[in-house]
């Protein structure tokens, strides 16, 4: 598979995403500068974490106007697989590729720690290597992960099984205590109705290798390979 990792000014998990696809999973990776207007024929697109444009104004607010975003939108519209992680998720929200918006964490602090998320929908291109209800331990690292959307949209997302990942306890209980940032309905990751655009706050690329002590995140990437019928 040929994966495109978009590099915005201020992206800082771009190398980490490349490392996972290239070194851990043996796929080929293109780094795509935000000023490009074509995606060079890649099979899937990653919007990596970081602080695009310093997260000034609002997270993702400026990045969504980068020239490359036109191509990303077109790619998504054609059914191409797009995953936005952390800042990437925030950019997808600002770009309108996913519904809702991010508010400051309830604690107002940046939070970096392992959290647990429950796979609420294992029938997506990004989770099919997981069991339904499986609990994954994946770190978060953000200051604005407090997901918000209006009640109507939330109800629609619930009805369509668009809420893919929810913060939970290690045992899989979705409780307020397990919610690290105040996110609505403990939302950690959502997908579009068509099922080809995923946004998630936790960083699966940070836990995809034994040497880092945790491989839960690898399942997200393996799912994508499976969906694309790539053998690993």
């Amino acid at each position: 598979m040929n994966v495109g990792v978009i590099v915005f000014p201020g992206s800082n998990c771009d190398h980490d995403c490349r490392h996972v696809f290239q070194t851990v999973l043996g796929q080929s990776v293109q780094m795509i500068w935000h000023k490009e207007t074509s995606l060079k024929g890649v099979d899937a697109v990653v919007l990596p974490g970081g602080f695009s444009y310093g997260d000034y104004l609002r997270t993702g607010a400026i990045a969504r106007f980068s020239p490359v975003m036109g191509a990303v939108k077109a790619f998504a519209k054609d059914g191409g697989a797009v995953i936005g992680i952390c800042n990437g998720f925030q950019i997808l929200l600002e770009a309108g590729l996913l519904p809702g918006a991010m508010l400051r964490n309830k604690s107002l602090h940046f939070i970096c720690k392992d959290v647990h998320v429950k796979v609420e929908n294992a029938a997506t291109a990004f989770t099919e290597a997981c069991e339904s209800g499986q609990v994954l331990k994946i770190p978060v690292a953000h200051a604005d992960g407090n997901y918000y959307t209006d009640p109507v949209t939330l109800a629609a997302m619930q009805a369509n099984a668009q809420i893919v990942l929810r913060y939970c306890t290690p045992e899989g209980k979705v409780t307020p205590e397990a919610n690290p940032n105040g996110s609505l309905d403990n939302i950690a990751g959502i997908i579009n109705p068509e099922g080809n655009v995923l946004g998630m706050m936790p960083h699966p690329e940070r836990c995809a290798e034994d040497v880092l002590g945790n491989k839960d995140g690898k399942l997200i990437f393996l799912s994508l390979l499976k969906a694309m019928k790539v053998k690993v």
Binding site: F65, A101, N105, G182
Partner: protein, 79 residues
Amino acid sequence: MKAKIHVTLKQGILDPQGKAIEHALDSLGFKNAANVRVGKYMEVDVQETDKAKADAQVKQMCEKLLANTIIEEYRYELV
């Protein structure tokens, strides 16, 4: 012309920053401070002498970039 723009969270959206400040004011002894809301204030020089044109432009800036209308509302004045 100078645009003075206020971007605030919509009514009904929880404002964690406002809450924190309210709490802090309270502990500092300002017991009669309540309903703190925090927003952004921006000043932009718009090099345009026609007021109507400038107005249209600032409105566009707000809609497109300066405010996220899912969670925020904006107002501005031109001086």
